[in-house]
């Protein structure tokens, strides 16, 4: 065995990379299916709490504050307000959007909770709280029961919302 490098000469193994892949299935349940089926038709569907009257989008099927089932569907429009945002400029493994990009909290008109949305068609240094935006959907034949149906949000040209109108949603 002369000529071979010994384990002593090589030293201990300190690290070992072991990539892991995990495929999983997601069962959305009745409440989220309603929201996802809405996306498939190109609209945002929320639900109203019968006790506090707050409109959730997407609805989880019950009101987290009152603990009662939400049963009334609410078709929300295509328009909302950027309550707050950040500009993402950090690369990371698995990233699917080119940096820098604007990640905003979008409060749809008529909803009582915001959700995360990508904002485009505005320079990153012009994004601001209170910006009025509209959803841009994929082509009708490309609609699926997924948020991939919403390409992004863009400014809709309306004047900025007054801080007082969204300050309680931060």
């Amino acid at each position: 065995m002369s000529g071979q490098t010994t384990a002593e000469e090589l030293g201990p193994v300190t690290t070992l990379a072991t990539p892991i892949r995990l495929d999983f299935e997601f069962t959305p349940g009745v409440a989220q299916s309603r929201f996802l089926r809405g996306l498939e038709k190109g609209k945002f569907v929320g639900q109203r709490c019968p006790t506090c009257g707050k409109v959730y989008v997407p609805s989880r099927g019950s009101c987290p504050t009152d603990g009662v089932p939400t049963t009334e569907d609410v078709d929300l429009g295509n328009v909302g307000t950027v309550t707050t945002y950040c500009v993402v400029n950090v690369p990371f493994a698995g990233q699917s959007i080119e940096i820098p990009y604007i990640c905003a909290q979008v409060l749809l008109d008529g909803a009582d909770i915001s959700f995360m949305g990508l904002i485009q068609e505005i320079p990153t240094d012009e994004i601001r709280m209170g910006l009025r935006v509209e959803a841009v959907w994929v082509e009708p034949e490309e609609l699926t029961p997924s948020l991939a149906s919403v390409r992004y949000f863009r400014p809709n040209g309306e004047p900025d919302a007054d801080y007082e109108t969204y300050k309680d949603y931060l």
């Binding site: 987290p64 707050t84 699917s96 959007i97 990508l118 931060l170």
Partner: protein, 384 residues
Amino acid sequence: MAERCAVIGVGQTHHKSKRNDVSIAGLVREAAKMALADADLTWTDIDAVVIGKAPDMFEGNMMPELYLAPALGAVGKPMFRVHTAGSVGGSTSLVAAHLISSGIHKRVLTVAYEKQSDSDAMWALSVPQPFAAPLLAGAGGYFAPHIRAYMRRSGAPEHIGRMVAVKDRINALRNPYAHLHLPDIDMKMVEDSMMLWDPLRYLEACPSSDGAAAMVLAAEDSLSGSFPPAWIHGMAMRSEPTMFAGRDQVNPQAGRDCSADVYAQAGITNPRAEIDVAEVYVPFSWYEPMWLENLGFCDLGDGWKLTEAGATAFEGDIPWNTSGGVLSSNPIGASGMLRFLEVAMQVRGQAGEHQIDGARRALGQAYGGGSQFFSMWVVGSDKP
């Protein structure tokens, strides 16, 4: 009537970006052995072990407590795993303390860790989910919008975040265990660092660290060690849903409720006057003024004024994060325990270069997830 409980031993690793010289088992043992030595005890003196870490996916080791039991001397003894995201180091300490205060055990070893170099927490926190747009970019991407909301709400000037980033790194120079030692840190260096999640710059964010923390907790009739005990005067945990209409993301209700509970237990009515030193989970600079308000150290909207006036600096009247804080060391699972451990060191008088003279009562706080888990304790040099 709950049994009195005290910290009688503390231990931690030198926190670094990569600890390739040890496995996870070696890492946790390092901190645990140091805590046992501080308490003048051995493995056989311990009744139970409570371990905590952040999500298993960070290192890809599912249920690591199973494989770590022998390394922590837990074979044949009760062993518990705690997980409450970033606050886990705090809640792990509290679960251990509950085992004493309930009268079940006399001496409990508690350990928390993260070995960030073994995986990619940024990736693990940004995995696409079928019901959300794939926009999340790590913890910074989650918290930056809420920081912007705080800035708007309070009218705080932009330099406040940079002040915290500098202050905590200057404190870290006093702490030999801190990961980041940046002797040249100043406002300009922070301002010149890369913008990662506008409005947050690189040096306003915590590092990625490998590290572990450990403590030995004991009942009143089982004290040992050469340093005086740090008595627990109050302890509390709270949670809240991540998403509900009307949720205050800047000043979460669960944090306010948790501090009100812990202050009531400790008999504190004026935190700024009655707490000598605090270690508070500030992974991004702006969380100092936000938590100053959430923890009742000042009126709403005034947190940044305390920071700006130097009240939270090492020489200030309420030193915050004398260890250098999460901004200087972030082994995620251990980060909460390091807050609890640092305040125990302060009231025991064993903090060395980062000791606040005369510290008799101190607050440790940790938060986690999307600000939906909180854990806190108040420790003191006097028996409660």
